[in-house]
Symmetry: C3
Subunit: 327 residues, 3 copies
């Protein structure tokens, strides 16, 4: 597999400074790329690496192109990282061998499910009755799509994902849990990507909704009746409890937890491992993590933390004492 | 699918105030229900919604029924939420089409496994040698039940669950981990529900035990030799490390962690994302989460937290200084 | 299944004090073992149990053997826990029935995958094009090994594991996420064990690497381009974000999170549920967890914590005030 620099700019645009015949055989990070590799520079912080990189060609912004006297070939693009993303797609397109049938014969698809003729269903997937898989959507291996759940177009669903398991709903009655049957489904928009072994539960009465362009990483848990707004992204192991409503263009860091029934405005960013315990109405970055420390220091600080409220009272007393001295 | 109000109270009991011929076509939340929908009011806080709801009928408590002058039909039940749970079950019973064989032909069941004649084994499940699946238990798709593991009656096991993978047991020897073969199994009682992609490991020597009526949400991790008491419920992404012993009627919030070898008494409730680092002998609610804040505030407070022990010492010094002034 | 004490020391070494004809029918913990059971004492703290145990035989260290006058049979070994680990392996070897074919017929193996003739591929596994499964490696049920991913020798991969799903890589462009195709793979060394439903993502450009002897528990998330050094162990629900580099001989506790692009030196031990937010250059134990407390105490301390920085300022003011009094 090789593409010339000329072929690349012909496909993706950008201005080439260098030899269009030069062959690129791989994409690589700036610090390890060799002459057969194409790399990119999106963060001006690393601009000094341009002088030393062995890369055959580097994608750079116009400003960087103007400032550099690097002798490597350059592709100049307004947004180098976006250009690089499109380049990975071009690369994948040329390297992917697609000798397999769109629907793998080992998949178990209910006759009353609707699978678009252009959708790809990998080995050992299960698509239940009434489920709907949209155009150009790809279920990789071992994905389960439960009854009546709908997935839009151009989605990618990675291995082991479970869409439409029952939400966690029970009524406590005389010390035992009575099951509340989950009668809703899951509705997933277009251009959604869902990471391996992630779970999205069906709603109790209404549906759980994942809007267009949402990206979920691996091992994410989405409870019943959650609503995730368009283009929101959640990193691995994040969990969103039932009926929470996450806005559009949010990010939720890895291992973060959003409690049930809360609302997050559009543009809210939750740091990794933080726990959202109240609704957040203003966009911005929010955090709540105990800072890690060597174990001995942590133990002392954690022990003191359990008396923090009393420490505050002692400060108050000191302030009063000093105040009364003044009088 | 439609049931008349008359049919409903005939099946489930309760006192109907309204037209028994009125047809219900769906169950819906109070605020979105229309005339063809049945809803419920379990929290008196929302009682004012009774005046405005468009629902065809609402399940209410006797107290609420006495107090309201709502013109909607009512079903009066001692515990509306429990009545509603039973109603969802009735609904499911009427809507579920069961044209599939009890044991899906794609399931891989070892000839020496015991599967009760009334159990339902979904597509692509694996039931290994010596495993035992009790009456009316339902394994949904892609569930693995390992060698010699036992599941009781009326259990529901959601897609992707792994019961009986090896516990995480190794002996460190000269810098390398020597595997401790996990010779126990998993024993699960009756009326247990297990959420999608949850894992319950087999014991090292004795069995891991999940007692009757336990409910586990998705992506929960139960380590080897854990014992979970009857009717305890754990929300998504909770993790219980090896040999912990959780009492009966406990709840463990989403993302909470219980360290190994600890004991939780009956009736202990752990808040979401809290970490149990010592045994808890008294029932009650326990929490331990860093409060989320805007990022700048969190950074300042977290930095100070790393010096909290020294702050305490400074308060002590101030107290001493003031004390010596008095003398 | 039974082995005599004589057979055991013949296989595993160690000095037997007792009757070599005595038959052992199970391995059991010291406190519940009966005369037909073999147990072990690795922690001197429990030495007093030797006097009361009903075990048919106990594995002990030379020091304990010298000090005890217990009447039970003893196997004396330099490292009793390591001896016990090897004994569980001997036990498993004698009890495992292997009537199944090495490659289960339900597994979906691409004709261009390489599976060593001695590897065992369980039911409903998927091994994609170009994947490589080394000698004596065992994929249990429902494991996915993605395109071009390589697993070494003597590895154990538990049910539901996903190796080689796409890393979570997107370029934000005009409010939408452009996919960065993940062109790297996953390389896993020898003697690695991977717990149920754990996910290891493929690299973006280079490979994600798991070195020899690494042990990962269940539901662990390893992001793209992570490097995990030899003999490092991670407990359940741990998560490592993209491009982090974990040293050799580290341990990562259950539910702990390591943020992206960080480095952990060899011999770093992260406590359960702690969040690593900066690189750690020195070996040692590191922690960062909010201490759990009864809910009312937690609420008061957490509320105060949100004002901690201001408390520090108040302490400073008090110190200044006292200081100025002295002048």
């Amino acid at each position: 597999m090789a593409l010339s620099l000329g072929q690349i700019v012909e496909s993706l645009g950008g201005r080439l400074i260098g030899d269009p015949q030069h062959l690129i055989q791989k994409l690589a990070p700036l610090d390890t790329a060799q002459a057969d590799a194409l790399s990119f520079l999106s963060n001006p912080k690393y601009q000094s690496q341009l002088a030393t990189t062995q890369a055959g060609c580097v994608i750079v912004s116009p400003a960087v192109a103007d400032a550099t006297d690097a002798r490597t070939a350059l592709i100049v693009a307004a947004n180098p990282y976006h250009y690089f993303a499109r380049l990975t797609q071009l690369w994948r397109q040329h390297t992917r061998v697609s000798d397999e049938p769109l629907v793998h014969p080992s998949a178990v698809i209910h006759p009353q499910a609707h699978v678009d003729a252009t959708a790809r269903i990998g080995p050992l997937c299960v698509v239940e009755r009434g489920a709907h898989i949209g155009a150009n959507t790809w279920l990789k291996s071992g994905v389960t799509v439960g009854e009546d759940c709908r997935i839009g177009e151009r989605c990618i669903v990675h291995a082991g994902v479970v869409i439409g398991a029952d939400g966690f709903g029970f009524a406590l009655f005389e010390g035992r849990w009575e099951k509340i049957e989950q009668l809703g489904a899951v509705r997933i928009g277009n251009d959604v990507e869902i990471g391996a072994n992630t779970c999205i539960d069906r709603g109790a009465l209404d549906d759980t909704v994942i809007e267009d362009g949402v990206k979920l990483d691996n091992l994410v848990q989405i409870g019943h009746n959650v609503h995730v707004g368009a283009n929101t992204a959640m990193a691995g192991c994040a969990g969103v409890a039932g009926s929470a409503r996450i806005g559009a263009n949010c990010t939720v860091g890895g291992g973060a937890v959003v409690l049930g029934h809360l609302q997050l405005a559009d543009g809210v960013h939750i740091s990794a491992a933080s726990v959202v315990m109240r609704s957040i109405r203003q966009p911005g970055q929010y955090s709540g993590v105990f800072p890690i420390d060597d174990n001995a220091s942590w133990e002392k600080n954690a022990a003191t933390l359990r008396q923090l409220h009393r420490l505050r009272d002692r400060i108050k007393s000191l302030e009063s004492a000093l105040e009364s001295q003044k009088k």
